[in-house]
């Protein structure tokens, strides 16, 4: 799935004071590309990802995902975008604590309109594919950070998205586990042909994994790298 971001601007209103976060960001993502966005805290990385994910709406500019312009979508349209087009993974996993691993995945399947009897086999298959076949009925509190993030990835894949958006997916993990998660994202990118946009602090990991790395500073893209991929 291709993404085309043109002159994207976002300004938050903090009280009466407008706080600009993105000042006209323009970039493209090719189909099946693994793009990383790096930058300091407050550079606007997460905001950018939320806009592409349809969780937030831009103040100006355009985001065209798979030929459809998000800035012109209704709230219902954005919900469909989140449901079917993208899968989103967060730093803090955002699993529902009261539900088991498999129930977290079946919830997404329920929103996706998957028939009830198909959900459990499908969720189990997804969890197995991220290496959690033995943890289906554990609750988030019984899972390690890496395991939790795998559940979140399985959930993001539930409704067969064309693109994965990962917001600091390794931010809460130790370096070993972080590497495993990044490797998992990369294998999904390679094996399933999923486009991936990953926002991260971890520049070395970004360079090792991505086709391209964008550096964001104060709401502007200040650098674009095309690393030699495949060494990590």
């Amino acid at each position: 799935m291709t993404v085309s971001v043109v002159d994207l601007r976002k300004t938050y209103a903090r009280g009466a004071v407008p706080v600009p976060v993105l000042h006209g960001v323009t970039f493209d993502v090719a189909d099946g590309e693994f793009l990383s966005i790096v930058g300091r805290s407050g550079s606007g990385k997460s905001t950018l990802l939320n806009l592409v994910g349809g969780l937030d709406t831009p103040t100006g500019g355009r985001i065209v995902v798979g030929g459809r312009d998000l800035s012109r979508m209704t709230r219902a349209g954005l919900a469909l975008h989140r449901r079917h087009t993208v899968g989103i993974v967060f730093q803090s996993w955002n699993l529902l604590a009261s539900r088991t691993a498999i129930e977290n995945v079946t919830l997404a399947l329920a929103f996706g309109g998957v028939r009830r009897r198909d959900r459990v086999p499908r969720a189990a298959g997804l969890l197995e594919s991220v290496g959690l076949g033995h943890r289906l009925t554990h609750r988030p509190s019984e899972l390690s950070g890496g395991e939790s993030q795998r559940v979140a990835i399985a959930r993001a894949l539930a409704n067969d998205p064309s693109m994965l958006l990962a917001d600091e997916p390794t931010g809460n993990l130790d370096s070993g586990t972080a590497a495993e998660i990044v490797a998992l994202l990369r294998s999904l990118n390679e094996e399933r042909g999923l486009s991936v946009i990953m926002v991260t602090h971890d520049e070395p990991a970004a360079r090792d994994t991505s086709n391209r790395v964008l550096r964001l500073h104060d709401g502007r893209i200040v650098e674009e790298l095309r690393p030699e991929r495949g060494s990590g």
Binding site: R83, A110, A158
Partner: protein, 465 residues
């Protein structure tokens, strides 16, 4: 999301906050319980009155009275007025019988008497009825015994009320009438030992001889009254009645018309009646008539009124009753509705709190593809579940209240020596209606929280701790 998913989520969420859900639901239970017991009481009273009317043919009964003497029919004689209409005599009776819809008409023949049975006696009144009444209430449904065979049979039908004044009650009826043991003042005897027994009916007569001899001797006679005694055989026992019988048959002893007309009698139903009698022929005080069915009542009434008589129908009173019922229903219902509104506010409060707590969860649901409609429905179904569960338990509570109320009321009725009654009515429409009403109220209460949940900003929600 299917309804099953929504329901599962709702139950799961309610279960997660058991205590709070239970307390919120309890508010609904109490509200619905209150509403149900109140309406149950209102409909119960209404049912008792209406059934009483129906059972006794009151919807088809009417009374023809002389114009200007209407009040007589209600038992309080006021005497003839100057503008009194034509007198009711046998020719009027015949004309009334030709009115379309009229299936029975007979004159009121009623007089006081003393009834003796064994060593007990009771003051009561004698009511005469023609044989044709046998096909009508209440004589077509006599509890024990049979109706008269002959216009001049020396037979009597006694009421349960009169029996109790004579210190007796029917043993076979004890379980139904008294739910166990009758009051100590009554002796329960088998029905067969009452049927076939003879009673003495004593009516006062003016002893002309004593009056004349008194006058001749120059003394005012101290007791110019004698007594005429008729022996009658009890052929049937009539149920005591709840006070809904037509006036005609409220008397304690019912006898065939021919038998009654053979008995000498003073019309002592009132002083006025006696005075009227002195003025000349007064005819019958009233005619009692029945129409085929309730729809015939109004046309028959108009026809008879056109003949120059007044018509009193007990159905008129039911109309009055119904008007008061409506007011009672509204008042009782209002109390219940207030209780439910308070419960609804409890739901709003609980759900708004719940949304604040679950903001992050809502954000997650939106991030994984939950639409606003989905989120709204989740909270909506949650409110609805509270409504259905609260409604169901509320109906149960209301039912329990009516049972307790019945026990208490019947305890007092018993102490007053009155037969028991079921004061409450719980028709199916009330049960289903209460649950449906509860559901509707809770859905309305859930409307604002559900909308608010649906509009949660996912970005802010995911940042929410």
């Amino acid at each position: 999301m299917t309804f099953g998913d929504l329901f599962y989520l709702a139950v799961e969420n309610l279960w997660r906050t058991k205590l709070r859900s239970a307390l919120t639901t309890l508010g609904v239970v109490i509200g619905v319980g209150m509403l149900v017991s109140m309406i149950s009481f209102a409909t119960g009273v209404q049912r008792n009155v209406t059934e009483g009317f129906k059972e006794n043919d009151l919807f088809t009964s009417l009374e023809v009275v002389q114009k200007g003497r209407e009040a007589t029919a209600l038992g309080a004689a006021v005497g003839a007025r100057e503008d009194a209409g034509p007198v009711i005599d046998d020719s009027v009776l015949e004309r009334v019988l030709t009115v379309p819809g009229i299936v029975l008409a007979y004159p009121e023949v009623r007089f006081p008497a003393t009834v003796r049975m064994g060593d007990r006696e009771a003051r009561t009144s004698i009511q005469a009825v023609p044989l044709a009444v046998g096909q009508h209430r209440p004589f077509d449904t006599l509890a024990h015994g049979r109706f008269f065979n002959d216009e001049s049979e020396a037979a009597a039908i006694v009421g349960e009320r009169l029996l109790s004044e004579l210190g007796l009650c029917v043993k076979e009826d004890v379980p139904r009438t008294w739910q166990g043991t009758p009051p100590a003042s009554l002796r329960a005897v088998p029905v067969d030992s009452i049927l076939g027994r003879s009673i003495e009916v004593a009516v006062p007569v003016i002893d002309a001889q004593r009056v004349v001899s008194g006058m001749m001797s120059g003394r005012i006679p101290d007791a110019p009254f004698g007594e005429h005694v008729t022996r009658l055989t009890i052929v049937a026992i009539r149920e005591g009645g709840q006070g809904f019988e037509p006036d005609a048959i409220a008397g304690g002893v019912v006898v065939p018309m021919g038998t009654a007309l053979r008995m000498p009698r003073l019309d002592l139903t009132s002083v006025w009646a006696a005075l009227d009698a002195a003025r000349g022929p007064t005819g019958y005080p009233a005619l009692h008539a029945r129409v085929r069915n309730a729809d015939d009542l109004e046309p028959a009434r108009s026809a008879i009124e056109a003949m120059g008589f007044s018509v009193v129908a007990l159905a008129d009173q039911l109309k009055e009753f119904r008007r008061s019922f409506l007011i009672i229903d509204a008042l009782l219902g209002a109390i219940g509705v207030v209780a439910i509104v308070i419960a609804a506010l409890g739901i709003v409060n609980t759900m708004v709190t719940s949304i604040l707590e679950r903001t992050r969860e809502i954000g997650v649901m939106k991030a994984v593809g939950g639409g606003e409609g989905d989120i709204m429905r989740i909270f909506f179904v949650e409110a609805g579940a509270i409504g259905v569960i609260g409604g169901a338990f509320g109906v149960a509570l209301g039912w329990a209240v009516t049972r307790v109320g019945n026990v208490v009321v019947n305890h007092y009725l018993r102490r007053e020596g009155l037969p028991p009654a079921d004061l409450f009515d719980m028709p199916v429409w009330l049960v289903l209606g209460a649950v449906a009403f509860s559901l509707v109220v809770t859905l309305v209460a859930g409307l604002y929280p559900a909308l608010r949940a649906a509009r949660v900003d996912p970005v802010a929600a995911l940042r929410h701790e």
